[in-house]
Symmetry: C2
Subunit: 176 residues, 2 copies
């Protein structure tokens, strides 16, 4: 059993709003880029880039970081054959970089993603965009752009998926 927190239309709206907020917050500042956290943030990064392009008529550069090597349990975690490399095809030095992930919970992934990003250069500012902030923080991390905040009990699983239909976007369902 699951409960839909955001249906496809609500997700599309949230992404358009987040794109507007990102543009407004970074306007007049440094050059803007989006960096998705593998693998949950990849699709959302693409959707945000499309939304910014539709609103502003400009295509912002995007990249991906893979945090496998930066996890605080890296020494004990099992190797994962599904992970890929980080791809940051621009020099983030001095830029406004928005890290993008689907779900924010403990903040440990974000910490690792920031470390990974800083190894590529020193951005002027690093922002954080997430589709769902589900609470349960274990590090003092906060998102700047949030699709929806819902306190989800620790054991419950949150499911984020793109539909088969190309018109569908993300759906978040909470197992209950």
């Amino acid at each position: 059993m699951s409960e839909v927190l955001l249906d496809a239309e609500a997700v599309s709206r949230a992404i358009r709003r987040m794109a507007s907020e990102i543009v407004e917050a970074t306007k007049g500042g440094a050059a803007l880029a989006l960096v998705g956290v593998r693998r949950g943030g990849v699709e959302l990064t693409e959707k945000l880039r499309e939304a910014i392009a539709a609103q502003e008529g400009r295509v912002v550069p995007t990249g991906l970081v893979d945090i496998a090597l930066y996890r605080d349990d890296a020494a004990t975690a099992l190797p994962d054959p599904k992970i890929g490399p980080s791809v940051v095809p621009f020099h983030p030095e001095g830029m406004d970089v928005v890290l993008v992930d689907d779900v924010l919970q403990t903040g440990r992934t974000v910490r690792a993603a920031i470390d990974c990003l800083l190894d590529h250069g020193r951005p002027r500012r690093v922002w954080l965009a997430v589709l769902l902030d589900r609470g349960g923080r274990e590090l003092p991390v906060a998102a700047d752009f949030v699709g929806r905040r819902v306190e989800v009990p620790e054991g419950a699983r949150v499911h984020v998926s793109f539909g088969e239909d190309p018109k569908a976007t993300l759906e978040i369902a909470r197992s209950v």
Copy 2:
């Protein structure tokens, strides 16, 4: 010229309130410890420990981290002869650790302090306590316990000092 944001009495009150909040937030959880960030967080850590002892009749363990080696400009920063070593005289694995600093601005120091702390073990949760949140964030970091929030212009300097009088505590003054 400077403007006093918090006089000694207001700082004492803020510290007592922060101590209460820390106790309440971590009650029933894991073992609690305070870790100050050198050098700004050292005195505040001691004051918080005293306030918790006065309120709860227990002495929580404290430590210090020095972030010199973890700064994101470590490669270019000049060596600083005033820095000392990190001293974490307990194993933070599984604990509730409150990082303590006097002023939160960009968040870069906090990022470095978290990395340094994680090198000592993996706490259950890392919290952040600061006397002053002056805005101007450059990383997605947020404090859990805050003495006072004031948006201070980027160029302005914030001065935190302990008075000569042993009864005086911290004073924050903003150059104007």
